[in-house]
């Protein structure tokens, strides 16, 4: 072992923490090397100084009593709590009340948590309205390809006048209109055709809470698109592909802002 290695283990040697082999190696080195021996002597005297100066702090007289009583007190509290729980020092209501409160909270919260969002519910209603219109042979109340026939037909049946555009030139001929109900309110349903497919366009006045962002959804195999325009909610639903329905929306949006193509 060289001096550097000795320096690393000298404290282990001093503290009797070395194994026999290292112990002998250090011992031998200290015999041969005056510098390391001096260093070791220094460590020994430091130790002697620490050991000889009674630096140990004895616990003050009252401390044990204080600790003992604190622990006994804690112990008493502990056993009292157990007794309270197990020895019938309570009544059923005391235990059941918190449980009942928790159960009630869950009962109230669960429907709120599980309730579908307004958007989801609306989408579902729109799709149902579309499906109903196709099933019950009740697609149109007023069958006309003329927007000027369809639009006046709603007057007197609704509190608003839905915009009615004719998109026959662009491949979405109007085939009629119908009164429908969404969320228990009468709404205008305009019926368009795209090749063999039917597009239902539901329109009603926008409320303050309605979102203006357009969004696309797919529900039960139907494409649903929603947008707001001119203070009206527009929900278009159909089994046409997404691209066609998107185009349908763009035509309506641009048609209303710009001059009519006709």
């Amino acid at each position: 072992m060289n001096c550097k290695e000795i320096q690393e283990v000298i404290h282990g040697y001093l503290d009797g923490e070395l194994d026999l082999v290292h112990n002998l190696a250090v011992e031998q080195h200290l015999h041969e090397c005056a510098a390391c021996a001096r260093c070791y002597a220094g460590e020994q005297s430091l130790r002697k100084v620490i050991a000889g100066r009674s630096l140990y702090f004895e616990a003050p007289k009252g401390l044990e009593k204080r600790v003992r009583s604190a622990v006994r007190h804690a112990s008493k509290m502990e056993s009292r709590r157990w007794r309270w729980l197990w020895e019938g020092n309570w009544t059923w209501p005391r235990v059941l009340a918190p449980l009942a409160v928790a159960a009630l909270a869950i009962l109230i919260a669960l429907p709120i948590v599980l309730r579908p969002s307004t958007e989801d519910r609306l989408t579902q209603e729109i799709v149902s309205g579309h499906v109903r219109s196709l099933m019950a042979d009740h697609l149109t109340d007023v069958a006309s390809t003329d927007q000027h026939t369809v639009k006046p037909w709603f007057a007197g049946k609704l509190l608003f006048s839905p915009p009615v555009a004719d998109l026959a030139q662009q491949g979405f001929p109007l085939i009629g209109g119908r009164l429908d109900y969404v969320e228990n309110h009468p709404v205008a349903a305009l019926v368009y055709q795209r090749r063999q497919h039917v597009i239902n366009l539901f329109i009603w006045p926008a409320t303050r809470n309605s979102s203006t962002a357009e969004d696309f959804r797919m529900r039960q195999g139907y494409n649903v698109i929603h947008w707001s325009q001119g203070g009206m909610e527009h929900w278009a639903v159909s089994d046409v592909n997404r691209g066609d329905l998107g185009e349908f929306m763009r035509l309506l949006v641009s048609g209303s802002s710009g001059p009519s193509p006709r």
Binding site: G12, L55, V71
Partner: protein, 174 residues
């Protein structure tokens, strides 16, 4: 009753280490009132977690709790650490004070050594106290201080080195 057994076991195996607990707390906290609070807190924790003590050395088990109680106390009180910052310069290179220092150092009295140890950074102080005053093995120190064995060795070496400097400085001033 179970609680009675627990209390009896506690008073039999943990309470007798009161001096060790106080000595460590006193060296860490630096004053008597804080040390007493820390010891009481540590004993309450020890009682609470007694069922978690599965034999072994009850003294090092308790001192570990004392040490934790001290660090929690320190955090709560946001007190400035009482020791000085450890100066890396102090222990690098060969020690020039070995020769005369070795003789000089034995002149240090109780008060001077006590002050010098109190001035050590706490991570050195705790290891030095556990080794020199409590007589713990490196393994026991590693358990109590929750550090690897290698760290115990290196900290102990640095602690002694640092302490030697502090003692000699004080002797020279005198």
């Amino acid at each position: 009753m179970e609680e009675q057994d627990k209390l009896a076991r506690f008073e039999q195996s943990i309470l007798p280490h009161m001096n060790a607990a106080y000595n460590l707390a006193r060296w860490l906290a630096g004053n008597d009132p804080d040390a007493q609070d820390i010891v009481q807190e540590a004993y309450l924790r020890a009682f609470k977690f007694l069922s978690g003590f599965r034999g072994g050395d009850s003294r090092s088990w308790l001192l570990r709790i004392v040490r934790n109680a001290f660090y929690d106390f320190l955090k709560r009180n946001r007190r400035e650490e009482t020791g000085t910052e450890f100066d890396e310069e102090l222990h690098s290179g060969p020690d020039e004070t070995e020769g005369p220092g070795a003789l000089l150092i034995e002149k240090a009295d109780h008060e001077l050594v006590r002050e010098a140890i109190a001035e050590l950074p706490v991570e050195f102080r705790e290891i030095l106290v556990l080794r020199e005053l409590e007589g713990f093995s490196y393994k026991e120190i590693a358990d109590v201080a929750d550090v690897p064995l290698g760290t115990v060795m290196s900290r102990l070496a640095r602690a002694r080195e640092h302490l030697r400097r502090l003692v000699i400085q004080r002797l020279e001033v005198k």
